[in-house]
Structures are given as structure tokens and as C-alpha cells.
Symmetry: C2
Subunit: 719 residues, 2 copies
């Protein structure tokens, strides 16, 4: 240990001069090594020409300056005259209309407000490379895409590329409290310094906007859904305005969370009843005031009647009545209400899995057009693996948006490498059979199958004050993947991993292959050593750190045994018709297939079925043995990831190498802890030996139960 | 405003490649420009030779590597053989004994365990440059001093330099809570990540140790004096051990805060009575356990019977009885108790100014030898200006240490540039007339006048997770100045400013002169626009942000009127014999001079005297007019500082320039706010016009009173 410390000291201090602390994210451009590519790009960098003026073009200019320095070792040249001597043309379709053919113009017009076209253009006998959008923000997106193609060695100056996002609102949700803490934040504290705003603009705000713009993220909600009404006071509007002004040229609109009881708390009213004229007037005036400060304010994100948050039910009103009041206040300004479907309450004595559909299903068609119901990917709560949420496909007359959790509340928090794109890909690819037989979740969310025009993919941010933004630097991949998937839900997790690894670590083939493999196997590893075969909600109490299948206390649906239902006979939650019948909320095709424990995909087995310990799985093994094998496989994959990384010492800069090395060592320990604790606990019910083929769990169950983590992050400080 | 934002965007993003975020502190070596110096140093950098082996030498090697790269553009050469071809010799006196003359050896021995000698050595006809200590840590201090001499352009290879610290314990006190918040922290949150310890070593820990070692800081207390007993549990000892192991080769020992009620809270006892055998045993065993993890553990820092913290008074015991139990537990291991004198309690119905002397004075001589009473520089609480604490000189048979506050709780917090060294210099230079007529506070603290051997200068840290460590990057100067003054209380604030500015901003003469001037005038400016002429404790409630001379509520000595005593007749706190007679706690020479309002230095006037508004000051002005003039002068100096800085745009890198520019704009606003609010408030008593020569205060007093700052930093989050 002492030796290791000394070793660490000596490698780390020496590397100060060349330290890579991860702040640069995927935008810390590495030198172009492919000589043909370098020649092509260097040529283009000798003459940029902007066809118009815009704050966004200043951003592009700065980005090209940074990229030129880092990729090519020299500054780009920006021309203001002599068009014929330029190389790269930048501007909107309107600005370039004099030099574009009508067909190209039409082609670009179809790309919509956020799309871009890039490719060669011949004008007066000479070929130029052009990057064109319908708005300046499209040009910015095109430039980022072009730079990405250079960094991933896929740029061809002769090829046309055009893209437009499949989703309208590509949004980060910050669960940041006004006091600087972050609920479920594992990367330090909130990057928003409300005290120093509006006078002081932290450099981070700009770098944050830049990173989001590079992915096409165009909306951010700054504050926690467990909301504080104070954010809607005039003082805070003035602070939020500064951020909105900064983000605007990056194409990002600001949203805020609206606490449903704000009319009482800051409006001086005695009620927040959404049908009360005073309340209606409060929201209208408050919203008008907001737009006086932020003319392109995005709208409100609301968590109502869930986990103690106030809502319309207090007044005998339903979600539609509550949400529509806000929507009506926003509508004249072009704003949007995002209303969360994550609800569960004491009132309803039903499997929590069913609450959202029971509360929202009957309201289909009653919500305003400028309103989206934001639905978590699954019905419980961001588990390592969940079947898709049964609301998708069940509300054909309502705008539905997707809510993913980028912050790894249940997937290793700050200490584990878990690349989440495979999970999100799995969700988007899930067949819903509704509204049309071929429907997938992705097709509902992006409007292809649902026909909805107001579309949304939101992600709960994993960003904090840690220098590398995300705590675990490999968790930057999740911010990246979220942005890319929000832009295009059809991208594969592997394509995205390809991009991110190359942009973050350069193109060393050994490192590339190794890191990509680590990413792609990491989520299944986590499912295996945490909650395999459909197990869920068996983590530590409150802070959700580590295993806690024994956790009881509080309401039943906050405990672990409620979800795993382990007893002497077997394990699993019966959600078929013989149980809670939550399964009945899905399309008939799914009900039919998943009701049968031999037909349901085994990854969802215990989510829907309570089965005997000796139930035989497709492998021929008993359920008990298979559980053991999954846990053990998870641990072994974690160890393999650690070995893989440690083999890269000479390929990775010392600071990042050491950072990930230490965290992977912790991940292996935590994986072993999960396996040992869960298997020892379940064995008290199963009363069977562990399968011989696995490493036998070690440690003492009572010791595992006694562990306490008073400094676990992500909850509001209580001392 | 919009224009400014766009301008800021464009300058800031473009500078990414050369961004200076301030993380490098005063150790971000700039290129040596003086050509003779560069030649001398380059020559020396071609051959370093270590006469021994030590983890500390690895640190030196790394530091030289960084410094060589940054100062000279090339790596140093380290030789392992061929002594005659080397240039710089490094090692301890023992290690170099074969090559050192006896006289030099004797000279070095006298420098003590932390001293160093550097200079030319002739050996076998050739001259070498040597840096020698009595321990390896002395060599490290010598190297940092040598590098500083290069950066400040004062290095002469022909001159001998030797130094040893005048104070034994040069210590940072972190008021960091285990939940990551920092009480009175204005630079983000705690840099200690207790959750990820012991498995994960944040790079910051090393850079923190390096910065401290560069100043000679050799002790740190990691946790808040408002203590949580949990830090003394085995789990946390294992975490603290990792930090102790990391800090050891930097010469830094770890201290922890001991909560007096820990025997009850974590020991399972029913009492914390220091005379109870079970309690004595608890502290002994707990301390033994601590040393099993940290063999060079520094000891305990304790706040007892103050502001609600538990202490010996609960059991009818005095401070000596309470403190000695801890001291006895530590003594066998060489540990030290640091017991704070900052006490005030409900029990004592006296001017709070007098509490410490009343409680501690009678205990003189009753404290153990391995125990220091840590005394704040003044008797109230780190005000912008306080007379020195009357305990200094009043306890000749007790070890007394100094407690400064580096974090700017009452001096502008995170938004104001206030260089604190002039204040600390003023304190150290204050004549106490006790124990000997020539005594100064500095001479008591460093043992010269007091004869005490265990000496301490402690500073409440201003360090947090903000990338630049201290929130306001100019506040780095306070960390720096604290360390330098703790090493040598006789240094002048101007010398220290010289060093810091050159090491932080390089040697551009225009920038150097301007920044140095800003630093040196900043503290008097703050006194003037906040609390001139001896006014004190008139800041905002609880968070202490901004003016609050009207603040009432809670116990009387938490209110502002208790301290300023303004009424229709006059203003000021009568602490002479006709009042609380706190003045009587000082030496007779001081009592005599300061009892007379015409003789007392006017900077302390209202601290000790309640005087009529028309009382005539040395200037010939009335007290009322002089108060107005001081406030106004403060504002004008702040504006001048802003103008000075803004004239340096072409001399400073854009990121730091913009950072300080924004904060100075806020500082001017806050200075105006202080002046306006305080003068308008005091006018309600004085009922006199403001002097014509000042800018007339604007704004509405009621509006100033109504301002609320729910997101002011530095207090424990309450929502």
C-alpha cells in the first residue's frame, strides 16, 4: 500500500505539465495522424468564409481556433474578402442563396430548423466545402459534426452529409437544489452558483453550453424536480436570465421546475387549486414576467403528486387539470409544460408499477398540445434493467417524452464504469405493438409511430462541480451517448462508443479496442452483479449505494422484500394476472408472451414471475443456480475490465490512467460485495448450496447488513 | 449587457487553448526572462545529485521536472554517478557529512528540524550549489525557497541563504463538514471526499500538499471545529490514514477535531465528564487506535463550551480539566491538543469581549505542556479590524497559539479582493507590554517574548472545490501570505505581496506594480466601506453577507445594535472603566492610553468608546462627518482598484482577467451597498446631513433592510 502511494505520488506530480484532468471532455481535439486526412483538413483550414454575422458564428470561429490549434498545430485562417481564395463556406441557406443551386436549397430546407448539410459545392468552376443550416445553430451543429468526422477519421471532403434531429426537445434535467447540492449527484455539487449570479459568469457555464451544443442538446432544466418555489421569484429570474442569454447562441433554451404550490409559497394565495381564478392568474402573470426576462424561455418541468410533491390531487383535480393551467399560461409565448408521469401515492393501494397508467391512461386526449408527459424508461425507477414503461403506446392522443437517468443512481453512482447506451438502445428498440403493430418505444418517442410533433428525450444530468464534470471520467460517455441518442434514437450503442472513445482517447488502436470493449460489456456486467434476471429495487436504503435486499422500513413499496418476494418457495414479483396484473397494462401480444415463464425473455423473468428455486431455465440450470451464475459472471466481467484497463498503462496519460485504475479497483470490490451480500441473503430463503462452478461468496451476511454509509453522496446533507 | 456577454463569449472560448484557470496557484512557474539568471539556472539544471533516498526526494525531483519545463523549457538532468560533473547537491546534513566542512555542518545543525541552508560549496576545487536540511523535509523547503528566488529574480548562486521557521506548528484549520459542506466556505465545497476514501485518491490531495509544503505549512486539521464525533470512528480513521500517508513526505501532519461528547456519541458511555475513569479510558484507547493507523498523528483540535458545542462545563469541570484528559492520551505518542479560546456562553452575562480572559486567565499554568490554547487574533470574531486579543500576554505560563481566518467570512467572502496580510502584520506587530515591556503579539506567539517552545499559527482555510481553490483567485494571496507569515511572523505584507504577485502573474513591471498596489490598499478599503473607526459586527444575519447594522433577534450579542450602540447621542461601545471595562483586561500601558478617546488610535475608537456624533477627531471633523468620509473613501478605493485592474487587459491572460474583472465590478457594487446602507441607517440616529464632500448615499434604507440572500454561501444548507 505504502509502495503504491509513493509510486502514485511520483508518477502523478511529474505529470503536472502534461496532466489531463478530463475537463476537456470529448472536445479536447487530438492531433490528426492520418496524413491524407491531415493534408485535406489543413488545406480547408486555410480559408474559412462566413456568409453572415451571428453570435453563433463567433462561437464557431472560436471552436475552429481551438480545433485548429489542437488538431493541426496552427490557427485557422478566416477570410473576409476574396471569396475565390476561400476553402470552407459557412452560413444559412438564406445567406448562401446566391451561390446555391435551387435543388440544394430545397434539400436543405427539408432538414428543418436544426438540420445541416455539409459537402462540396462547385461555384464558378471551383470546388468549395460548405456547411449550411437553415438557422445559424444548424451551421454550428454541422461544424461540430464535421469536426467529429475528422476526429473519428471518417471525413471525406467529396461526400455530402446531411442530418436533422429526430427529436424536437433534446433535454438535460438537472436535479440541482438552490443550495448547491444535487439530488442523486455523484460528481460534486451544482455547477450553478446562484449566489454569484447574475454578476459573475463562471467559465463552466460556457464550456457546459459548448459541450451540449456539440451533441445537439437544445434544452436544459436548471433545477430539481423536487422543486423550490423560490426559483420563480423575480430575483431568481434575473439570475436565470444570465444563463439563458449565455446559452442562446448555443441553441439551448432554459426551462425551470415549477412547484405546484408556488401560488401559495410565493404568490401569497391560500390555494394552489388549478381551477381557482387567482391561481390561474398567478401562473399567467408569473409566466408573463418570466418571458419579460427570458423571451425564449422553454417552459416548466413539473413533478406533481409524487413522493410528497404538491399537485392537483390536493384539490380534487386530476393531472390534466393541473398541467393545463400551466400550459395555457405558456402557450401565448410558445412555451411548453413537461409533466412527469413518475407518480405513486399512498392513496393508491396497488403495485407501484401500475400507478402511472392508472392515473394517466384515463386522461389521454385531455392534455394541451404544448404539453408533454415525461415518462421514465421503466415503471419502477431507473433500475439496471427494466422492461419499457407500459405508458408507451397506451396514450395515443397525448405527447409522450422519454426520461432517462444519466446520473448512475442505481448503476454504480460515482465509483463504477457503466456505459448506459446499451440500456437506452434496448429501451428504444423495445416493441410496444401499439399504436401500430410494428411500434417500438423509439418510434413513439420520435413521432414516427405516434405521429406526435412535440417530441422529447430528457436525461437526468450526471454533471457536477468535479473537474471532469461527471465524477467518474468514463461517465462522460453517458452524457455523450445521451446527447447522441436524443438526436437520433436509432443510433447504436456501439457506433456511439466508437465515436466517444476516439474523441476522448485518440485513435491508438490498442486503447480504442480495449476501451470500447470495456464500455460495451459494462452495463450487462452491472446488471449481473447487482440485479440479474429481472430482480430490482434491492439496493441500499435512501442513498441507494450498494446492495440492500434486506432493506425494510418506511412504506412497503420502498422496501426490497416487496420487490424480490423471496421466500422458502421461490423468488420474484408475480405481475401476471394471478398477481398484481401490471403485465396486463401492456399490449396483448406482450401479455400473451410474457405471461408464460418459459416464453418471457429471461432478462425480465423475476420482474413478472414468482418462481420456485428449482424452476428450470433455458440453460437447463435451476433458477437458484442461474442466479448464482449471473452474479458471479458480473464479478468476473468487472475483474476483466480492470485487467484490460491496467494493460493500457503505456497508452493512456498518467492522470486519467490512475483515475480510472483506482475506480475500477473499487468497482471490483463493490461487485464482489453485491454478489456476496445478495447470494448470502437469498440463500437464507433458498437453503441450497451455491453452484460449484462459481466462486463461493465470502463474508458474513450480518456484517454486510450492518454497513453504514453516512457520507454516501447524492442526498441532501442532513447533519 | 448583451454586447458584453457576446464579447466575453468570444474572448473566452478562443482562449481555451491557453486558458489559465488558476489551478496552478503560485507554483505555475513562468519562463525566466532575465538572461543572466536564465543562464545561471540552466547551468544548474544540467546536473542534480541527491545524496540519499527518500519519498520526499521523489517529490523534489518531480517539482524540478515541472519547474524546469515551465521556467526553462527543458527537463532537468539527474545524475546518479560522476559527482564531479554535477551542479546541484541535495540532501541532509548527515547525507552530505563527507563533503561538508565542520563549520557548515554546525551552522546547519542549528537550523533545527525544518531549517535549510543553500549556497555554494567548494569541494575538491570545484564549486557546487547545495541545498541542505537536517531532514529531507528541510531540503524540500530549501528547494521551494530556491525556486521562489528564481521566480522573483532574487537568486544569486554565490550567496548563502539559510532559514528556519520561527513557529513550530504552521497549520491550516479546515472547517469542513463530513457531508461535504464547508462552514464559512466561499470556494465551493470540501475537497475531502470521505465517501470515496480510502479507495480513491483525488489528485487534488497531492496538489494541496504540494502547495502547503511550498510555504512550509506542516499541519492540517481536516474537519470542522463544530465537530462530528464520527470522524473518530475506525471507518474514518482508515480514510484519514490515506491522507496522512499522502501528506507525510510533504512534511504535513494530520490533526482531527475531537467532539467533547464523543465518549457518549461513539463510545457508548453515559457521560463525557473528563474526570470519569471510563471517559479517560475512552480517550486513551481511541487515541491509541488513532496512532495505530497514523503513527505521526498530530493531535486534536477542540472547540468546547462555545456556540453550543459540548465541553467540560456540562460536568462542572473547567477548560484545563477538559483539555488535559486529551493531552494525557496524546502525550505518549507525541501528540498535541489545540484547545480553542473562542468561547462565549449564556451563563456569562458580560461583554462577550471579556469571556475568554475570564474563563482562561485563572487557568494559567494548569494546562499540560503538549497543549496549546488557540486564540483568535481579536476578542470578538475576525472582524475587518480588531485590536489584538487581550489573552496575548495574559497567560505567561501557558502555550498560546494564533488563530487567523483566511476564509473571508467578514471581509468580502467570495466576491471581494481583500489581501489580508496587512491585517495579520498589524496583529503580530501590536505591542502587548506583557510579559516584558517590549512584547509584541508576534513575539508571544513565536516564543521570543513568551519563551514557549510549542508554538502555533493556525489559519481557517479558504480552500474549496472551486477550480482555483479559493473562489476568488486573488484570495490565493491569502493562503500564500498565511503560510509565509506562519513561517516567519516578521515578514512584511509588502514583501509577501511582492513574492506572490511575481509568482502568480510573472514579472511584467506594469502588472506587477498595479496588482501589488491593489493588494496593499484592499484591506483598508474594506475596513472603510464596511466597519471604519472601530465599528464591528454590523454584517448580515447568520450568513454574514453584506451590511446589517439593523440586525436584531436571537441573543443580544448576536445582534448589531449591541455592538454599535448607536443612539441619538452618539455611537460606539464603551469598553472603558465606565462601561464594560473589557479594556481593563489589557496591560496598564494600554489601558491608560486607550481610555482616553483623544489618545487611542482612531482606528480603534468606537471599539472602546461611545462618543457624541459631534465629537471632534484629529482631522478637525466631527465623528459623524468622519464616519461618512471613511465609508466614502472605501468605495472610492474599490473603484480605483477596479479601474487599475481594467487597465491591465493586455497584460493578463483572458481567463484570469475576466474572472477578476467581474468580481471587482461586484465588489464596487457591494462597497456602495455597505456605504449606503450603513450611512442611511446611522443617519436615523445622528439626524445630521452627510458631509458635502462625499458622494451622497443613494437607495432606500427599507429596501436595504428587506434584501434576503437565501443562497449566500458558507452556511450549512437548510432546505
Amino acid at each position: 500500500m505504502k509502495y503504491l502511494l509513493i509510486l502514485f505520488l511520483s508518477i502523478s506530480v511529474a505529470s503536472s505539465a502534461r496532466a489531463n484532468d478530463g475537463y476537456g471532455l470529448w472536445l479536447d481535439y487530438s492531433p490528426v495522424e492520418n496524413s491524407q486526412l491531415k493534408q485535406d483538413v489543413s488545406q480547408l483550414f486555410t480559408g474559412f468564409y462566413f456568409f453572415g454575422k451571428s453570435p453563433t458564428y463567433e462561437i464557431i470561429r472560436d471552436e475552429l481556433e481551438v480545433a485548429g490549434q489542437k488538431m493541426l498545430g496552427s490557427s485557422p485562417v478566416f477570410s473576409t474578402e476574396r471569396l475565390a481564395q476561400t476553402q470552407v463556406w459557412l452560413g444559412t441557406r438564406d445567406e448562401l442563396s446566391q451561390v446555391l443551386g435551387l435543388q440544394t436549397q430545397a434539400q436543405i430546407r427539408e432538414l428543418g430548423e436544426d438540420g445541416y448539410w455539409r459537402g462540396p459545392i462547385v461555384f464558378q468552376g471551383k470546388t468549395y466545402y460548405a456547411i449550411i443550416g437553415n438557422r445559424s445553430i444548424g451551421v454550428l451543429y454541422g461544424v461540430f459534426d464535421w469536426l467529429r468526422s475528422i476526429q473519428t477519421d471518417t471525413f471525406d471532403p467529396k461526400t455530402e452529409n446531411s442530418e436533422s434531429p429526430k427529436v424536437k426537445l433534446r433535454m438535460l434535467n438537472h436535479w440541482d437544489n438552490l443550495d448547491g447540492t444535487v439530488e442523486r449527484g455523484y460528481a460534486g455539487f451544482s455547477i450553478w452558483n446562484w449566489h454569484k449570479l447574475p454578476g459573475y459568469i463562471d467559465r463552466r457555464y460556457i464550456d457546459y453550453a459548448r459541450a451540449n451544443a456539440s451533441l445537439g442538446i437544445n434544452a436544459v432544466s436548471l433545477t430539481n424536480v423536487n422543486a423550490n418555489a423560490r426559483i420563480l421569484t423575480t430575483d431568481f429570474m434575473k439570475k436565470a436570465r444570465v444563463l439563458a442569454d449565455l446559452f442562446r447562441p448555443y441553441g439551448i433554451r432554459v426551462f425551470l421546475t415549477a412547484r405546484f404550490s408556488a401560488p401559495i409559497e410565493i404568490g401569497g394565495l391560500k390555494t394552489a387549486d388549478p381551477l381557482d381564478p387567482g391561481v390561474i392568474d398567478f401562473w399567467k402573470k408569473k409566466t408573463d414576467e418570466m418571458y419579460s426576462f427570458i423571451p425564449d424561455f422553454g417552459g416548466y418541468l413539473v413533478k406533481a403528486n409524487s413522493e410528497g410533491q404538491p399537485g392537483p390531487h390536493e384539490y380534487g383535480r386530476d393531472h390534466a387539470q393541473g398541467a393545463n393551467v400551466l400550459a395555457d399560461a405558456l402557450a401565448p409565448h410558445g412555451g411548453v409544460v413537461i409533466w412527469r408521469a413518475f407518480v405513486y401515492s399512498h392513496e393508491l393501494d396497488e403495485d407501484r408499477h401500475k400507478h402511472a397508467n392508472l392515473e394517466f391512461g384515463p386522461l389521454d386526449g385531455k392534455f394541451r398540445e404544448n404539453l408533454i408527459i415525461q415518462v421514465k424508461n421503466g415503471a419502477i425507477d431507473f433500475m439496471p434493467r427494466e422492461p419499457f414503461h407500459p405508458l408507451f403506446g397506451a396514450m395515443p392522443k397525448t405527447n409522450l417524452g422519454m426520461e432517462f437517468q444519466i446520473t448512475q443512481e442505481y448503476l454504480g453512482q460515482a465509483t463504477q464504469l457503466v456505459y448506459l447506451a446499451p440500456m437506452w438502445e434496448e429501451v428504444f428498440g423495445s416493441k410496444t405493438y401499439r399504436p401500430i403493430p410494428a411500434s417500438r418505444v423509439g418510434g413513439i418517442v420520435d413521432g414516427t409511430d405516434s405521429g406526435q410533433k412535440l417530441t422529447l428525450v430528457a436525461g437526468v444530468s450526471n454533471i457536477g462541480t468535479d473537474r471532469n464534470w461527471t465524477g467518474h471520467m468514463m461517465a462522460q460517455s453517458n452524457w455523450y451517448a445521451f446527447g447522441r441518442l436524443a438526436w437520433n434514437p436509432d443510433l447504436s450503442s456501439e457506433e456511439i462508443a466508437d465515436e466517444w472513445v476516439k474523441m476522448t482517447f485518440g485513435q491508438d488502436p490498442k486503447a480504442f479496442a480495449a476501451i470500447k470493449e470495456m464500455l460495451l460489456e459494462s452495463r450487462e456486467a452491472a446488471v449481473n452483479y447487482m440485479m440479474p434476471l429481472g430482480l430490482h429495487h434491492i439496493m441500499g436504503w435512501d442513498h441507494h449505494y450498494g446492495p440492500g435486499p434486506w432493506v425494510t422500513g418506511g412504506r412497503p413499496d420502498w422496501t426490497a422484500p416487496y420487490y424480490h418476494q423471496a421466500d422458502s418457495l421461490g423468488i420474484g414479483f408475480d405481475r401476471t394476472a394471478s398477481g398484481s396484473d401490471a403485465l396486463g397494462q401492456y399490449a396483448p401480444e406482450i401479455v400473451k408472451a410474457w405471461s408464460d415463464p418459459t416464453q418471457i425473455p429471461e432478462k425480465y423473468l423475476l420482474w413478472f414471475h414468482h418462481l420456485p428455486w428449482d424452476f428450470e431455465l433455458h440453460s437447463g440450470r435451476t433458477l437458484w443456480d442461474e442466479i448464482g451464475l449471473h452474479y458471479d459472471t458480473g464479478v468476473k466481467t468487472a475483474r476483466k475490465m480492470e485487467e484490460t484497463w491496467n494493460s493500457l498503462e503505456s497508452e493512456i496519460d498518467p492522470e486519467r490512467f490512475e483515475h480510472v485504475r483506482q475506480l475500477l479497483a473499487i468497482q471490483v470490490q463493490e461487485a464482489e460485495w453485491w454478489r456476496n451480500a445478495c447470494l448470502l441473503y437469498f440463500q437464507t430463503f433458498a437453503k441450497r448450496p451455491f453452484p460449484a462452478e462459481i466462486e463461493q461468496p465470502t463474508g458474513d451476511l450480518e456484517d454486510y447488513k450492518k454497513r453504514s454509509f453516512p457520507t454516501a453522496p447524492g442526498i441532501k446533507p442532513k447533519w
